[in-house]
Symmetry: D2
Subunit: 380 residues, 4 copies
Amino acid sequence: MKRKIRMGMVGGGPGAFIGGVHRAAARLDGLIDVVCGAFSQDPAKSKAMAGELFLPESRCYGSYSEMFEQERKRPADERMDFVAITTPNVSHFKIAMAALDSGFHVLCDKPMTLSLAEAKKLRDQVSETGLLFCLMHNYSAYPMVRQARLMCRAGKLGAIRKVVVQYDLGWLAAPNAGKQALWRCDPRYSGICACIGDIGTHAEHLAEFITGLKITQVCADLATFVEGRQLDDDGTVLLRFDSGAHGVIEACEVASGEENQFKIRIYGTTGSLEWSQMEPENLIWRANDQAMRVYRRSWAEMDPSLAVWCRLPAGHPEGFIEGFANIYTDFARAIDARLAGTDYQPSYPTVEDGVRGMAFIETVFKSHQSDRKWTPMEPC
Amino acid sequence: MKRKIRMGMVGGGPGAFIGGVHRAAARLDGLIDVVCGAFSQDPAKSKAMAGELFLPESRCYGSYSEMFEQERKRPADERMDFVAITTPNVSHFKIAMAALDSGFHVLCDKPMTLSLAEAKKLRDQVSETGLLFCLMHNYSAYPMVRQARLMCRAGKLGAIRKVVVQYDLGWLAAPNAGKQALWRCDPRYSGICACIGDIGTHAEHLAEFITGLKITQVCADLATFVEGRQLDDDGTVLLRFDSGAHGVIEACEVASGEENQFKIRIYGTTGSLEWSQMEPENLIWRANDQAMRVYRRSWAEMDPSLAVWCRLPAGHPEGFIEGFANIYTDFARAIDARLAGTDYQPSYPTVEDGVRGMAFIETVFKSHQSDRKWTPMEPC
Amino acid sequence: MKRKIRMGMVGGGPGAFIGGVHRAAARLDGLIDVVCGAFSQDPAKSKAMAGELFLPESRCYGSYSEMFEQERKRPADERMDFVAITTPNVSHFKIAMAALDSGFHVLCDKPMTLSLAEAKKLRDQVSETGLLFCLMHNYSAYPMVRQARLMCRAGKLGAIRKVVVQYDLGWLAAPNAGKQALWRCDPRYSGICACIGDIGTHAEHLAEFITGLKITQVCADLATFVEGRQLDDDGTVLLRFDSGAHGVIEACEVASGEENQFKIRIYGTTGSLEWSQMEPENLIWRANDQAMRVYRRSWAEMDPSLAVWCRLPAGHPEGFIEGFANIYTDFARAIDARLAGTDYQPSYPTVEDGVRGMAFIETVFKSHQSDRKWTPMEPC
Amino acid sequence: MKRKIRMGMVGGGPGAFIGGVHRAAARLDGLIDVVCGAFSQDPAKSKAMAGELFLPESRCYGSYSEMFEQERKRPADERMDFVAITTPNVSHFKIAMAALDSGFHVLCDKPMTLSLAEAKKLRDQVSETGLLFCLMHNYSAYPMVRQARLMCRAGKLGAIRKVVVQYDLGWLAAPNAGKQALWRCDPRYSGICACIGDIGTHAEHLAEFITGLKITQVCADLATFVEGRQLDDDGTVLLRFDSGAHGVIEACEVASGEENQFKIRIYGTTGSLEWSQMEPENLIWRANDQAMRVYRRSWAEMDPSLAVWCRLPAGHPEGFIEGFANIYTDFARAIDARLAGTDYQPSYPTVEDGVRGMAFIETVFKSHQSDRKWTPMEPC
């Protein structure tokens, strides 16, 4: 790379959890500079954040539309290259559309939009503009998740029979769970599902990402346990996959005491894999005729192609920010290749993953409302 | 106790896994003597087992009916007190009925019968004879399961919102899984369900035993992954409880590489519990406002009433046989109290648990065949 | 076997922890009957225990000498075959000597005697009488310890470089730790070392048992942390082995909150092993060029010769009593073979292990008193 | 802060493991810019690294002395503020002395110097110049290590009796362990100890840092297991502390299969703590009268003062780079306060920790060569 890639940011004002993660991740490998932002709808907060980031006032904008307009006018050697969208779900679509309209590549938080219809329109826009679009499905970027994917794809597990995903958090157990909780449980900001949108889509994405299978039918049982809450705070979803495999996603945001308990188990005819987000450097292999094995990041028997997804030798823990950073770095390299006219095969999640996630949310919601056992998840 | 309780045995011939466990458990606390048996339908095998047990030939019977008839005639000071039934499911009912007819108390393996109808008849017979009937739901006898039950019943978790049970085994992953597998997958010996009957009932029982809640509706997705197999070798079942709690049982016997992975998690408004059969001495407590706690068998903060369910100080592992032995010892004490005319409140699972287990199997099977999402589990 | 082996017991009165373990272990496999005992020096307590065991009064003796004398006179078909000695250390020697004098085989708790001199005399006596002598080093009988031993002996680890043993308990952390603690910290009952005698000898035995190496030099730092205590309640001992390997035993009985934390790690040129008593069914293999492996009891890749040391399939936890029972069963089979004049190669620890343990205690104590770094552990 | 703090770097050329960690850590929180460097003694390599960092050629220097000279001449608004020294041990002293001479603050890798004499001279120089000096003892910056320190200092453990540190790596198990291994085992670059200097000093630092106790005597047993190696690749060291506590450090770099197994256990009269670098977000509390507790980073019951040492909510793993970054951020804030003339109490390790580390290495080496059991570690 000849220069750092320049990033603008929408959202991520003071106190936003995920905005800070995006910035730390963007910084980690030294390939990206945050050069501008519209960090908050409140100008004072936006300026405060710009100050924390040592940005000049001129690069702190009052709105995303102002940012796109002004940045477009800047000379090529200082103009931002892409925008990172870290706002609540409700505004992802319009911001992303505007960015693409203005010629900027886009990195967007998930779930991608508020509805499947929006998601499809966004996909069309990405296709028409030819710009790069990256969806922040960060869990897909842990090296041992990639290792699991490689093993599944290589047939090490034989035919996959069952996929079990657990995702439990306690953060919404009490009625008052803070500001973050408010918008996530408000359909105006979050869409038709909260728990399924927030963590169910992570589960769905990881299941398909690792196995390469596609969900074809769901049977959902959602719940809203906290009184007065408008959206689901719990959900369990039976799954059928295109290969005939069965599965289940158990997701809960009122699981008192759980931190971020996201686990996946994949059972095949010849062996099985287990990965857990809270111990992300282990990938457990079990088979009927072998001692249990624990594959480790950066250790012998990790696939050599994954070295670029690691920074440290085994035993020196990498974690959540590194996973995020892997997506950012892959995206930065893709932008650089685009700038340089060279070839690069990125593997970050794309607008297609976002369409699929929105289809999952809508299918689950439909199933929840239905008395029929199975609701098909249509290809889209 | 004035003397040891005398046990006869039906089943448990050479090579039977569970028969040996029953005997070791019966012996462990020194309160029970195996005095006779009809160990196999093959007289040579039955005699071989009697020899291994140093029993006189006169106490090795050709059939259970002969055993009940002959033992009834023996003098009170040598006659067996109860029979332990460890045969395949198909014969539980007739053997138990005959034993009760002959005036013997009964300890029976689970699932209790081949059908719910049989289960109800057996319940009537127990009621009419007034004899003692113990169902071997061994997992309910682990001390930390009892601790979980006490904590749930005492309201430590607040209102229970969600119950998640995992039960995974790899033993049926391959088509040829040995002699044990043959009868378990044969409807003539096993009934309408294999996986759900074998391990699903353990999951159902533990969920209700610990929480005190009752399942009212199920939504089942069963599978038969190994070609040619006549019964389910996998099943996932959504649950609704009488309190409004939700739940799921994920059970699989083709889970390659899993040994006996039986876990339960219970989420309440104020905290949650996790117990795992493969690490049975730990009970994990999580709550949103506290450090995670690991309660340990025989350690401080275990309920003092559970001391009788333990033999060793903490840190000296007790396991599977001790769990079984807890049931046997509780049953022996109940028989002793009956003999002595004294008062004793046993807590082993009874014929009611067996009726409930059979209702669960039949309801799950009905749900599996239905296109409707929910199938009610009728009280019975 | 034609009949059960008959066991008499010295010690193990009401409230004795280890006496109950001995009995449960002796019962577990159904090869041994406890037929008599001198359970306590207090006749009332001794009778109470005999009652609990349903023994006739005539087999409850006032002293071990009376027991040996009376049992010797009984007809061969009811006389006890061996005595299990579970008293405090101080009396092991005289009871064992008397038992051998009377022609009884002996199973004895560790440490074997009060001094090395006694140990050597006992060894001579065993040798002269030709009777069987078994030392209860129970940890050596866990299947995964045996697996570790086989792997070490087969050279799987290459040359062993370092052996690290941890043994931490909290039970003596407070000044008043109960009746058990009293005699263990009293030199009249326990000998010159408490912590080193009680748990240090387990560490020493396991290190040598698994690796096949012999300790040749020690450097000891003992401590007595609780004021007024007469013996060590903590000790760390540097080790040198005959092969040139280095090692360390870290033992502590005032380790607040620890239950029975006994672990061993063995590092060789080509790989290493780790075993932990509190998770005894795992044996962890690590090597620089491989994923970590967890060998499991009764699972694939356990050495088939170890099947006789297991009762249950993998995933059904066996524990502390099963380890003890393995020693008892091995000893019972050896006695049976002696009775039958057949051939049997037992592998229980013997009087030689006891001599070595006493040499270790005395060498450590000598080192503790010395200003020199190294104190040789003489062969004996 | 008004602006980012500007860092220069000596060492950390292409392929250097720890140099990359320093840079990622410096970047993570967005408070520091790497503005210049003398990354390698090979100018081509140095330039290559500068290119990777998008530095202008003018800020890539041929030597550290050139860098200090040139940077000193730069205007205040672009001149580097501090230098990070990440070279082999041999050159730490001269580079640090030169930096201080030139008026730059210093952040230096450990062990601080090649000898205790050098360390003392460096301490004098720091004192005379009044400049800031930070020693990179990164493990002291994990939040749960800080939590342990707070709990020890607050007396939660009562009087500390025993401290046990384990540090095992397999990376030097084979004779050819790569370029990094070469200098570390060469006394010209590494000093008198390899294993003790490299990882033993981490163990020593953490033991004193957490407990607040000071080591007063050591008894060391070092080994060189790989033939031809000039320095120790293994060492076990008995410890005595100023309070009367005992301890042991078990360190090994030929521990086949171990990654970075660094653990510490601290036993007090009322409770104990365990922390493990490979699971750095857990701090385990054990006490004789309580269920085991696992304190977690950013979770309830973590001391609120530690929030500034964390970036993410509990359950979102932070790791090794975040630990490093905590030191960098603390140092950057200290420099900023110095620039602004404001008050800030940093808590990064200082030149005093470095002096102590060198004293430890020299005392251990002296003990290793001695036949006496104890060698005093003199205050210095």
